[in-house]
Subunit: 149 residues, 2 copies
DNA sequence: CTTGCGGATTAGACTCATTCTAACTGTGTT
DNA sequence: AACACAGTTAGAATGAGTCTAATCCGCAAG
């Protein structure tokens, strides 16, 4: 079920959009709500379908737009695996992704600061990295992993 | 300039293909030659264009087929960055990739065994990973980086 | 009010990397 | 010679994502 945003989350949305001079709109709120309601790294299509349940007139283009906006103001992260459809993730803490070969499901893997540091240290001088993406690909023991919010 | 394969490289190709029950063909040899001649992580299109100089009748579909075959028998690695075209890399040693924001060029970054190990160690029990992809994204000081084999 | 402005949304056309299909080629086999 | 079969080929099909042009909506100025 898709619940409404908590005041706290709405404020978060409000603030992040505001900072880059953009507004909260019903569509953006709906899309953001969907992302928070089920943190399973949905594709654009999945977000679209879920959001439609709550806002039937919503268009796919708008979902693309909203997600792009959110990425732009740091509200969500894009997750790409090989050439599959892009997925979206509202987890802001630095983390890696694990993609289950069997189910296709994506799990967040916590990334300790010291590992991040050792990773950064392998860059030769002259290389300056803003983003580090780490993704694992393999099998995960099924232990239900849909922490719904 | 695209040179011929050394005996050593031809043997390598031969062996890897043979192991998975496949043959060396002129097209496969041409594509492999292109990959070794200029280790700059070319896209399929780039491989296609380079290989055509040497084998004008070669078709794009074949380039896709050859590259897929090579990936299948462990001769080359695929490199994906966001949703850009897939690139191919004949460097077999474990390494990370650095994509230059400005030039779009991809650089190999050596990956020390101990960093690999610490990465593997962040996986919670039950997660079993075969492939780890690490990619950096940022700016690299231009210091000509086309080590043509 | 009502007019006008600008950002947001919309449907549908478009792009383009990749995959698929069905015909063809070349080589080795019975 | 006829066959089998992997590999190759051109072109059609797919599908995620982007673009375009029209419309909508909230708000500020007149």
């Amino acid at each position: 079920m898709i619940q409404n945003l908590t005041d706290h989350d709405r404020e978060h949305l409000q603030e992040a959009l505001g900072k880059s001079g953009q507004k909260v709109t019903p569509q953006r709120e709906a899309v953001f709500t969907v992302l928070l309601a089920q943190r399973d790294h949905p594709t654009v299509d999945e977000v679209f379908n879920r959001a439609r349940e709550v806002m039937p007139g919503l268009s796919l283009a708008t979902v693309y737009n909203c997600l792009e906006t959110f990425v732009g103001c740091g509200l969500v992260r894009q997750v790409n695996h090989e050439r599959e459809s892009t997925r979206y993730c509202p987890n802001l803490a630095p983390h890696a992704h694990f993609r289950d070969k069997e189910t296709g499901r994506v799990h967040d893997i916590e990334l300790p600061a010291e590992v991040m540091k050792s990773l950064r240290s392998i860059l030769p001088p002259g290389f300056d990295s803003e983003v580090i993406e780490i993704s694992f690909h393999g099998r995960a023991q099924a232990k239900d992993s849909s922490p719904s919010n």
